[in-house]
């Protein structure tokens, strides 16, 4: 017996266990180290931008904060618009796949949506300038003619259609697959008992979804949206290609003047930047870092406070 006990003790000390546990520790700390390295790099490189000479900026802008302000606004504005468009559609697709479609069709559709996530953003950018913008332009003209009194639709309308609304549509298409995939998984996890209970009480399918599936899935929908928002905030290439930017804050959605996003602004101006101009661009990158962090923290708070009311417990 004693020999058996000894062998079991020996088995616990197998190198595989220790390698695996140290590998996970290394992986875990590596992500922290990389994040810290990025943050420190941005911080150090940004410092000259905060005290930059007014002549380092173009036009009427004299300091870093008035330079980055419109960019932060444009970044958040376009991302939120994209979210407003993408989330309802994503929930619809996810519900269709999880609760309405025949199984075979649902599977195919799921793959198709995932495929959308694999399309590179440059391709979305090209699609935006060559197909979407000219397609939407006449529609924008009508919108300005009829609803021009409403500030976001105020004119003059852009002649090319390369406005922040077009950008938001492109972004919405880009974040759709992420949100859909997560929502679909969450909806499939709804306890069958809840659904059957709702149906047994005489609920229609829509009422069952409203009473059982959506409350259960709400935290999941929120975290899916936040992941999508994160991608929309950081999207670079598609925005740089499609948007017609201008260095101010604009609430209008359909004019030629649009607030640029931080990431697109860096992509546009970095190739020709030199001297303190590079520091200024990196400092805007730091601001994007901060904005993304704030959004993620906000999402965490929302999810945690919502947890208690969902059907999950």
């Amino acid at each position: 017996m004693t020999t058996v006990a000894a062998t079991t003790i020996k088995a616990r000390q197998r190198p595989g266990d220790r390698i695996f546990s140290s590998a996970t520790v290394i992986a875990g700390s590596l992500i922290l180290a990389v994040l810290a390295a990025v943050a420190i790099f941005l911080l150090v490189e940004s410092l000259p931008a905060f005290v930059a000479d007014p002549s380092a900026f173009d036009g009427d802008i004299t300091n870093f904060w008035s330079y980055v302000g419109p960019l932060v606004f444009g970044t958040v504005y376009s991302a939120i618009l994209a979210l407003i468009m993408a989330v309802p559609v994503a929930i619809g697709i996810a519900l269709f796949i999880s609760h309405f479609a025949p199984r075979k069709l649902a599977q195919g559709l799921g793959y198709l949506i995932d495929l959308l996530a694999a399309v590179p953003s440059v391709v979305f950018g090209l699609w935006g300038i060559t197909v979407l913008a000219p397609l939407l332009q006449p529609f924008y003209t009508t919108l300005v003619d009829w609803f021009g009194w409403f500030l976001p639709f105020a004119g003059p309308v852009s002649g090319t259609g390369r406005t922040i609304l077009t950008v938001s549509v492109v972004l919405a298409v880009m974040i759709l697959p992420i949100i859909t995939a997560i929502c679909r998984e969450i909806f499939l996890q709804t306890p069958l008992l809840h659904e059957e209970a709702a149906l047994a009480l005489g609920a229609t399918r829509w009422e069952m979804i409203r009473m059982a599936v959506l409350p259960f899935g709400l935290p999941g929908i929120i975290s899916a949206s936040m992941l999508g928002l994160g991608r929309a905030l950081g999207e670079t290439m598609a925005v740089a290609m499609v948007l017609s930017p201008s260095p101010n804050v604009f609430f209008q959605l359909l004019t030629s003047q649009n607030s640029n996003t931080i990431a697109a602004n860096i992509a546009l101006n970095f190739p020709e930047a030199h001297g303190v101009g590079v520091n200024i661009l990196l400092a805007t990158g730091l601001m994007l870092f901060v904005v993304t962090l704030l959004v993620n923290m906000l999402a965490r708070i929302v999810i945690n406070s919502r947890k208690a009311f969902s059907g999950a417990n």
Binding site: T160, G161, P271
Partner: protein
Amino acid sequence: MNFKRFGRPAVIAIAAGLALSSCAANEGDVAITGNDASASTLSGTINGAGASSMGAAQEAWRAGFQTANPEVTVNYDPTGSGAGREAFIAGGTDFAGSDSFMSDEELAGTFASCAPGSKAVDLPVYISPIAVIFNVEGVDELNIDADTLAKIFAGTITSWDDAAIAALNPDATLPATAITAVHRSDDSGTTKNFSDYLGQTAPDVWTEKASDTFPFSTGDGAQGTSGVVSAVTNGVGTIGYADASQAGSLSTAKLMVGSDFVAYTPEAAAEVVAGSPLVADRAADDLALELNRKTTNPAEYPLVLVSYAIVCNEYADAAQGALVKAYIEYIASAAGQTVAEEAAGVAPLTGELEANVAAVLATVK
């Protein structure tokens, strides 16, 4: 202990990788001269950086030069004019490409790649006409003067049937479409030259000083030359400016020069450069040009971009100097200019200017 077990092979792998890659990087420097099929005896590496405007032309020149001199490697990094000049002054590169000539402050400093006490010179080697492109339904030809063009891009003329445009185009049927003026959204030498042209010829309207960034917050912005061309092509009532070689099938406007309307041609662009005086108060061998934007000679097209190659008068390393000299001589030669004309649509150097560039290059060592 476990780290050691995995660490050792990893270290070996990294070391091997570094050793192999450094071998590859050094290949270009191994000088094996003579006994080749080609007559060239040049070998080594030339590094340049600067204006992205001449990026396409540099590609063509590199290919042409390396074919003729198989032992030479030419690198050109299109990092932008300012960064290119900085890198050259700091000694990181052998020559710079730049959309604007060196400032007096830059010339007053020292150049790390040049022999002590010697300076660098600006040589115009790349002339690219800028076309005003437009896409208006029912209008194929458009005459325009600097004043009207400035007002369109500054946002004070907003409709195609504006009286100012109609007066210049009595035969055209101009629609009441709104004008969308498309400019570059990224920093660009094309914008700087366009802005400089309007600032000189329409100073009352174009009050902003020329810079790489489009000065007014009106109109549509698009990324890169291709972005502007695609925005103008796909838009309604659009007008924009772009390197003429990229204009494609779009209609281009004629500019008023003197009392005539001049269409862009490479010859007319070369003509205005040839007719421009050198910037005063600079070294005799510095060929910085004061572009004659206000020309009234209808054989000249004043909306051009000129890029310079910036090289040392005398290199600290004579062998390197000979290499750079050979390369820039090739660029400025008739053969080099023809290659660039085919690849990038540049207007070739002509007449006196071509001779001047060659004369200055002959003194480079």
